[in-house]
Structures are given as C-alpha cells and as structure tokens.
Amino acid sequence: MTVQTATAPGRVTEESERAKAENTLGRQLVLPAIVLMMVVTAFPMLRALYLSLFDYSLTAPDDRDFVGLSNYWTALSDSLFWRDTANTVMIMVVTVAVELVIGFAFAMVMHRVIFARGVIRTSILIPYGIITVVSGFAWQFAFSNSNGFVNGWLPFMGDDFNWFAQYDSSIIAIMASEIWKTTPFMSLLLLAGLANVSEDMLEAAKVDGATWWQRLYKVILPNMRAAIMVAVLFRALDAYRIFDNIFVMTAGANKTESISFLTYRQTVEQFQLGIGSALSVLLFLSVLVVAFLIVKLFRVDLAQARQE
C-alpha cells in the first residue's frame, strides 16, 4: 500500500551481480505485457492523433487532405458533441451515485449474513458475468409496451406507455440496465472494504456511545475511504465509456447518444476516419480529464489504484 514498493533493504545504488541479474530478469518478464499493451493502445492512439489532422473518409480514401486542427474545431463547435458529453456525464453521475448507495446497502447485508452466504454471492455474480448486450435486451424487452412487464407492474404507468418514445424515459431504461449489471461489482468491492473495518473498532464505538448512524459516518465510512474511492474511480470511468446499452436499447435515438456512441458512429457507420479520429482523441482526453478530476476531487490514493 506504500508508495515506495517494498524494497529489500539496500539494493539501490551499489549494484551486486545478483541485483543486476534481478533487474534484467524483471524487465524481460514484463516486456511481452508492455509491448502488447503498447501495440494495441499507444500506437493506435498516436495514429489517431495523426489521422485526426486529415480530412479522410473511407468512402473516398484517395482524397486525403491535411487540414490541421480543423476536425477538432468542427467537433468542438458542434452542439451535438456537447450535448452527448453532457448526456454521458449525467449518466455517469446518476449511475455511480445510485450504485454506490445500493451497492453499499448490499455490501452491508452480505457482510452481516451468516446463512446462505454462497447462494447470495453466487447470485450477485450473475449480473456481473452476464453480457451487457444481453442485459440491454432483457431490460429493453422488460420496458417494452407490447411484450414487457414493467408497465403492468408499475401501478402509475399506463399499460401502453412507450418508454422508448422520448428522452427521459429512454434514459431511465438505459440507466436501469447499466445499474442492474454493475451494482453487484460495486458491492463486492465495498464488501472487501468493509472487511477491513475491524469489529473491535465498531464495538469500541458502541461502548463509547455512538449510534448506528454515528458508527456509519464516523467509523465505517472513514475507514473504507480508500476502497470506496478506488471503486468510484473505476466505476465512474467505466460509466463514462457507456456504449453497449445505448447501442442495443435505443441506438442513440431520442438524443440518448453518449460520447462513445458518437465516436463509434462517425467512424464505423459513416467511415469518417478524419473527424472520427479527432473524436477518438477528444474522447481519450476527456477520460483523462474525468480521471484527473475524480482523483483530485476525492483525493483517491493512486498508489492503491495502481496496486502498489
């Protein structure tokens, strides 16, 4: 957990044969992983940076003109880009907040449960393991007014209400699928954090006269801070990249498009590699910005996120 990785005392400046051999071996062992990760991410990213400077469409591959930053200008001055970004941020904030609350409640239950532990843990893994596309389908059909059950089960909903006809209800359906699938993951991470809060400490707080709420706010949550922050960081970035559910459930209709979906559409459906690449770069940068903001705002311990 320390920032400095556990170093056997010394071995820093004056190198013995053994230390040198260790250094070489270590580098050799991580080389394949590094090369692979670089080939599939860093290299394409650089290429996207390069392509984004051209007016380049696959429908006319020979008309490749250098246009400088104009693709970025086009994207950034288009209200579509900002609408989709706002939509994405909204989805991220709402889903992570809801997941955090429900996930924490689930984690508390799982932490306390003695009987049927295996059953609970097995079922909590099922949403995690299910393909997002399948989850999207299940919820789309559940909300469907011709074949779904949601309208019938919700007393205040008319039986023929079409959830996918307007923005508000569409986005609710999308978020329902997203939240359903990822809450279990969140609750498992929080459960691991809860396990770090010692029973002794809670009993001491009880003896000191703390109420249930006080124990939660003054003992449990502060001691789980690191776990919560890392969980939030990973989940928020995951939610920011939302794509599968939107693709399956609305295909971006009714302005439900996310920034990832926009990028995808420009590249794969419209073959606009120039502007698509510019959007890719912008997407990557915006993820960095979001990550940076979360890390700074919530003071996430990056060393922990990095697994040091």
Binding site: G10, V12, E14, E17, R18
Partner: protein
C-alpha cells in the same frame, strides 16, 4: 557434522551501511551457538549468509573446511528452520518432511523410513496426512524441524523459531530443541532476540549490536563478566542497574552513599572521574533478613514493591544529572527497551517485609559490581 568458520564476514547494502561488520566466529563440531541482539543488529543477516540466502560482501564462510561463499543454498547442505516455518501449504505433513529427500532423489523406501523416523522423534505420527493449515503453532514448528532433521544436513540453522509461539509453548519447545540437539549432536546456529533462549540453549552466545560482535562467550561468562555496557544491559532480566559512580580512596561514591570497593577493582578505576557502575538486582538485599548483618548498607525509600512468591523486586527512584540520564536513555534504546525514569531495581528475599513508601536498609554487594568507562562503554573491571 561439521564446523562453521566465519572469517571477517562483512555485509554491506547499497547505501554502504554495513549490516554485518567484520564478524569472525568459529563454531565447533556439535556446538550450539546463539546469535543474539536487539532487532536490526544483523544476526538474521549473518545466519542467512551462512545458509546462502544473502550475498557475502567480503570475508570467508567456511563450512566443514570448505569455502562456501559462492555456493548456492542447495549446494551447502545446511538445514534451516524459518521464523514462520515456511511449510508448504499445498503438501501434507508427510510430504513437507519428505520434500528435501524427494529433491535429492532418494528412493521411496528410504524416504518413507526417514520420514517415519523423524515423525516419531517429533511425535507427529498422527498428523502425517494433515495439511499445515490444520496444525497448531507448536505442531507446525515440529514439522519445520522434521524437515530439517531428515536431511542429514551438516548443520542446523534456526531463525527465531519460537517467536511466533505463546509463552508457555515457547518454554516447552525450547527444551525440545535443546534435547534434540544434544541427541543428534549436530552443529547448530540459532538466532533469537530472546535472552532466555540465548542463555538456556547456547553452549556459547554471540551478542551483536549494529552489525558488530560485542562478546562471544558462555552464558555464565556473559552474565558475570560482560565486556561492556551494552552486553551488561542486554543480558539479564530485570536488567543490570546502572548508576553514576566515582572511585576515590578505595571507595565508590554512588547516589545512595559511599561504599568500600574490593582493592583490585579500586586500583583499576581510581581517579578516572565519572564512571558508570553496574550492579545486578540480586546483588542487593534487605539488610534485616541477612544472617550476620552487613557493613555496606544504605537506606532508601521503597517506591513500588512486586512480590512474586519466591522473591520480590523493589523499585527505588533516584535523581541523576541530565548527562547520566541521557546516557541511560541511549543505552535503553540500544537494548530495545525504554527507560522512563532513573530508578534502581533490587531483588529481595521473599521473607523481606519492606513496605512501599517506607525507608528500608539495603545491603549492596560491591564485590559483584562492575565499573564501566561511560564514554567507550568498556568494562574496566572485567575478569575481576
């Protein structure tokens, strides 16, 4: 069976700090040698250099007449018991003990015979098919020893093997290790920070401080003739009392009064200015319970008294100059303890009726007193 000779062994880490500095120890065939000292004194490093888990910066490590500096651990044929036992959790007790034999490619029948023999010695027979996770601390400890004894290794090396056991079990296992070593007659080097283990187990004990060997001697010699302040303070529990002292005219001047000093001790220390007197708690006594009385006595107010049945300890605070206090604090830090106040600990006969808060007349046996040079820490009266 073998001898282990360490000649001017030095271990330096990257930052140039010598973790082990110029240590030479000869371990005779069949001898039980203890390496003891506060944490960070280099005792474990030295042990790991013997077995080959740590590079030797300079010096010679000679096992059985052969220099082993550059041999890998597996080529040294030494057996080691680790602090956390290092049992292989995926193997049964039987397979754990058999592990070194299997690596050596011994025949199935030989393995079986040796494992059974070891398990009988260590009373592990009914646990052979169990996994280490299902054993108690003491049982794990015995399995670790089993793995060492099946080997016919040249020597046993122990790295704080009892530190993870509770006090009662530690006592039992200590006796067990002593018995086993005597029976097998095998050369043994044993690292501990526990002085009871050091005193009871070792034929000889090497006391180390910050990588430097302080004294290598029998337990009795260490206790009665410590060569310096550190050894004197480290060995013995409760520890030796240290008092500021000056010797003049055959008398030693202590905070509690002036006392006659044996002539040969006085001759060595006369006129040397402020010294440090060291005297063990049992060299005091309640004058009122002594047969025939005493001529070197003083009165002091008893602050706290602890009655243990067979004896009792009394604590007597005294005022000391800042310089002395600082030195005592420094010394306490070196031996891994804490000195809260300058006080005298005296061990009294259980019959003594001294009361807390009352004045008592105490006898002091100056013949057993040692006098140390406060700047170098050397014992000026060693051997006297």
């Amino acid at each position: 069976m073998a001898t282990i000779e360490m000649k001017n062994i030095v271990k330096k880490y990257g930052d140039g700090f010598p973790a082990v500095n110029d240590i030479s120890i000869d371990v005779a065939d069949g001898e039980f040698v203890i390496l003891v000292g506060p944490s960070g004194c280099g005792k474990s490093t030295l042990l790991r250099m013997i077995v080959g888990l740590e590079d030797i910066t300079s010096g010679d490590m000679i096992v059985d007449g052969k220099r082993v500096n550059d041999l890998a651990p597996r080529d040294r044929n030494l057996a080691m018991v680790f602090q956390n036992y290092a049992l292989y959790p995926h193997l049964t007790v039987y397979e754990n003990i058999a592990f070194p034999l299997r690596l050596a490619g011994k025949s199935e029948s030989e393995i079986d015979q040796k494992v059974r023999e070891a398990s009988k010695t260590l009373e592990l027979d009914e646990h052979l098919e169990r996994k280490p996770a299902n054993l108690s601390g003491g049982q794990r400890q015995r399995v670790a020893m089993g793995r060492a004894i099946v080997r016919d290794a040249k020597a046993f090396l122990f790295d704080e093997p009892l530190s993870n056991l509770d006090a009662k079990l530690r006592g039992q296992m200590r006796t067990e290790i002593a018995r086993l070593q005597k029976r097998l007659g095998i050369t043994t080097v044993y690292v501990t920070h526990d002085q009871t283990e050091a005193m009871t187990l070792g034929d000889r004990v090497a006391v180390m401080k910050r990588g430097v060997l302080q004294q290598l001697a029998t337990p009795r010699e260490l206790y009665e003739q410590p060569v310096n302040l550190f050894v004197a303070g480290f060995i013995g529990s409760p520890p030796m009392n240290f008092l500021p002292a000056t010797v003049e005219g055959g008398k030693v001047k202590l905070p509690f009064g002036d006392f006659d000093l044996p002539q040969e001790k006085a001759a060595k220390t006369e006129g040397k200015g402020l010294l440090m007197a060291g005297i063990r708690p049992e060299h005091f006594e309640d004058a009122s319970v002594m047969d025939g009385g005493s001529d070197s006595t003083f009165t002091a107010k008893i602050d706290v008294r602890e009655w243990l049945g067979d004896q009792q300890y009394a604590y007597i605070p005294y005022e000391a100059e800042q310089q002395v206090q600082d030195q005592l604090k420094e010394l306490a830090k070196e031996v891994d303890s804490e000195s809260l106040r300058t006080q005298l600990v005296v061990s009294l006969d259980s019959a003594s009726r001294v009361e807390e808060g009352q004045e008592a007349t105490l006898h002091i046996d100056t013949r057993k007193m040692h006098l140390f040079d406060p700047s170098s820490g050397d014992n000026l009266t060693v051997g006297l």
